[in-house]
């Protein structure tokens, strides 16, 4: 591992962790807020982060300054993996980004979910669930038959598709007011822009070490856990990204007085364990999580990432319905008027 790999991975990870913690950035919480209270603050931050990356990465690639790798379209794996991840993140109480920054804040339940996530990834990558992954990925949709990206699929040049997409999303975001998330931290404009810029820096510095992909968590976690479990893997830029991410969110929580060791009750712990495992299995099967697909993959308009993100949200909606919406409705109907 070169000095540049070490330093750049750590710096991008630190900035990523810091921005996640300050922005309270969690896909699960953002989606749940929309479902339960109609609050789209975190969702707007996520949309802005994707938009900034989309524009930045497209421009850099068009200028020939940045090589990119598009996640493949494994239709079956994207659907099943996305659903499993979506259900898992609701159970665990956070997606991969949310889980990571909460570990930095001292939440024991998130730490447990993160460990279960890593184990789920390893078990699926080269353990007993490997046949599941292979079976689902066997039906890879080749990029010669159907485009691996949305522009290829629609047979449109990227520059025809990206500006309208950016304009529509930008206009929607522009009309939204400056709002801070209920639990404090940065306004969504700041966190979205910061995360988008960190994402672009991630693409650049990762590519400069030969990795050719932006921010991600599933692959780097697999490397760490495989190494810890006795299958040494070469640590790369992504491995340092994870280390920096945890350190960055820890630093942010420490500086802003939000660091506290918190231990959940037994049932929550079990929920975190099961949810984290499901997230790990789902992310490994689908080839990425809410960071690799929903943040990074979407910025190159990868079809695999679009499908995975859609099914993550669908899975989260299903689990959210049974865990929150239905009990709320029952309580409302049962409550005296």
């Amino acid at each position: 591992m070169t000095t540049f790999t070490l330093i750049s991975g750590l710096i991008v990870g630190l900035a990523f962790g810091y921005a996640l913690q300050r922005g309270r950035f969690c896909t699960n919480t953002g989606f749940r807020d929309i479902l339960l209270s109609g609050d789209s603050t975190l969702f707007r931050a996520w949309a802005l982060a994707v938009l900034v990356q989309l524009v930045g990465v497209t421009l850099l690639h068009a200028m020939g300054a940045l090589p990119i790798t598009v996640p493949p379209l494994w239709l079956g794996a994207n659907v099943v993996g996305g659903l499993a991840f979506g259900v898992g993140m609701v159970l665990a109480g956070g997606c991969s980004s949310g889980t990571c920054y909460r570990v930095g804040e001292g939440l024991a339940g998130s730490l447990l979910a993160l460990i279960a996530f890593g184990l789920g990834v390893v078990v699926t990558d080269h353990g007993i669930l490997l046949p599941l992954e292979r079976g689902l990925r066997a039906a890879t949709v080749s990029d010669t038959r159907i485009g691996a990206t949305l522009p290829e699929f629609l047979h449109l040049p990227t520059w025809v598709l990206v500006p309208p997409l950016a304009l529509v999303t930008g206009a929607w975001l522009w009309r939204s007011g400056v709002t801070r998330y209920r639990s404090g931290g940065w306004p969504w404009q700041v966190s979205g822009t910061a995360l988008g810029l960190v994402g672009v820096a991630g693409w650049l510095s990762s590519a400069a070490t030969g990795r050719d992909f932006g921010l991600s968590m599933t692959g780097p976690l697999r490397t760490w856990f495989a190494s810890l479990l006795g299958t040494p893997s070469a640590l790369d830029w992504g491995s340092l990204l994870i280390a920096g991410l945890l350190a960055g969110s820890f630093l942010s929580a420490l500086i802003h007085g939000e660091l506290r060791w918190r231990v959940p009750k037994g049932q929550r712990l079990l929920q975190s364990l099961v949810g984290g495992s499901l997230m790990g299995v789902g992310a490994q099967v689908a080839g990425g999580c809410t960071i690799g697909h929903s943040l990074t993959g979407l910025s190159v308009l990868s079809l695999g990432s679009i499908v995975t993100t859609a099914f993550i949200l669908f899975g989260a909606w299903g689990a959210g319905y049974f865990m929150f919406i239905r009990p709320m409705r029952r309580a409302m109907h049962g409550a005296p008027s």
Binding site: F4, I7, S8, I11, V12, L14, A15, Y18, R32, L36, S37, G64, A65, L66, P67, I68, T69, V70, V90, L91, A92, G93, G94, G98, L107, G109, Y181, R182, S183, G184, G185, L197, V198, V200, A201, L204, S205, A207, A208, T209, G210, R211, D212, G248, L251, L254, I255, H256, G257, E258, L259, R260, W261, R262, V263, P264, K265, R268, S272, F324
Partner: protein, 318 residues
């Protein structure tokens, strides 16, 4: 302090605790500024690293013909007769190969090579610039052979097309030489020597044949990079793309790649690109893959580098 977890997984997010707020808050802005500056610096260095040229490119490529250099045309006889650089001597790459049975083209015996160099009047101290067609294959092979024989030879960027209208059909008068050439046995190795190197784990086998040929069978543990990874549209690939492919193939500056192919010209092209990139210990097998099989190399169909091939398709010339 240990308290019950308040918000993860609960339906509504809670405000952050404020009781221990915040001992280090005055550091917050400073840290944000430092992180932003560091991120900017990392991005700038990354852009530079991604788009720099091949570090050792001057060892194998030239843009202008130096004064006093001997020009060598490596193209076929017909192309040479139609028009070549004024004064360019003709050394057709394929005349440096012999074809025996099913094995395919392999490097001609040393005395035949030396005879060919004598015919065009070359000396070991000559500075030679070789040009070929856009594929780079012929020029790479001739340059490799010349360097193996101790001649300071490099390939002209852009090949014959860079000559423009400045062409001649006159065959230059050359006085044959009788100089002796010393062969560099480390750069160009026989199939038998290759097996010894592989057995000693002293080299990393690199298969530069097509994807389908590799899938049918290759030297055990060989990684594959298709010929298109090394040269396209008359030039080297982008540094970033090549760097990514080498990383996927786990080839670094310290690696000693042992390059083999079905066509020695493809192997020569790989040598050229790897050398330009800065991998200084490249070994080229002087005979095709079939000769390695015949010499008893362990052959397998287990892929060691599917990722490299995929990268080359998706990135290299897109």
């Amino acid at each position: 302090m240990t308290v019950a977890e308040p918000q993860a997984g609960s339906a509504t997010p809670q405000p952050r605790p404020t009781r221990n707020r915040p001992r280090f808050r005055q550091w917050g802005f400073g840290l944000e500024a430092v992180l932003a500056a560091a991120l900017l610096a990392v991005s700038a260095v990354s852009v530079w690293r991604l788009n720099r040229g091949f570090p050792n490119v001057d060892a194998v490529l030239v843009s202008d013909v130096p004064a006093g250099a001997v020009l060598v045309d490596a193209r076929g006889p017909l192309a040479y007769r139609r028009g070549h650089a004024p004064g360019a001597r003709h050394l057709y790459a394929r005349n440096l190969l012999t074809f025996r049975g099913a094995i395919g083209g392999q490097l001609a015996p040393h005395d035949e090579i030396v005879a060919a160099l004598h015919r065009i009047g070359l000396h070991p101290h000559d500075t030679v610039v070789v040009y070929g067609d856009g594929s780079g294959l012929d020029a790479a092979l001739v340059t490799l052979v010349l360097q193996v024989n101790g001649v300071n030879a490099r390939v002209l960027r852009g090949g014959a097309s860079s000559l423009g209208a400045n062409r001649s059909s006159d065959v230059p008068r050359v006085t044959p030489s009788s100089a002796s050439f010393t062969r560099n046995a480390r750069l160009l190795v026989t199939a038998k020597d290759s097996l010894s190197h592989i057995a000693e784990n002293a080299v990393a086998p690199l298969d530069v044949r097509s994807d389908s040929a590799y899938e049918k069978g290759h030297v055990a543990n060989a990684v594959q990079m298709p010929p298109s990874a090394f040269w396209g549209a008359g030039r080297l690939p982008r540094y970033a793309d090549f760097n990514a492919m080498l990383a996927a193939a786990r080839l670094t500056g310290d690696t000693h790649p042992l390059v083999y192919s079905d066509d020695l010209r493809s192997a020569a092209l790989a040598w050229l690109a790897l050398t330009a990139y800065g991998i200084s210990h490249v070994h080229v097998v002087s005979a095709p893959f079939a000769s390695l099989e015949q010499a008893g190399a362990s052959v397998t169909t287990t892929a060691a580098s599917a990722a490299v091939s995929r990268r080359s398709q998706s990135l290299c010339w897109k």
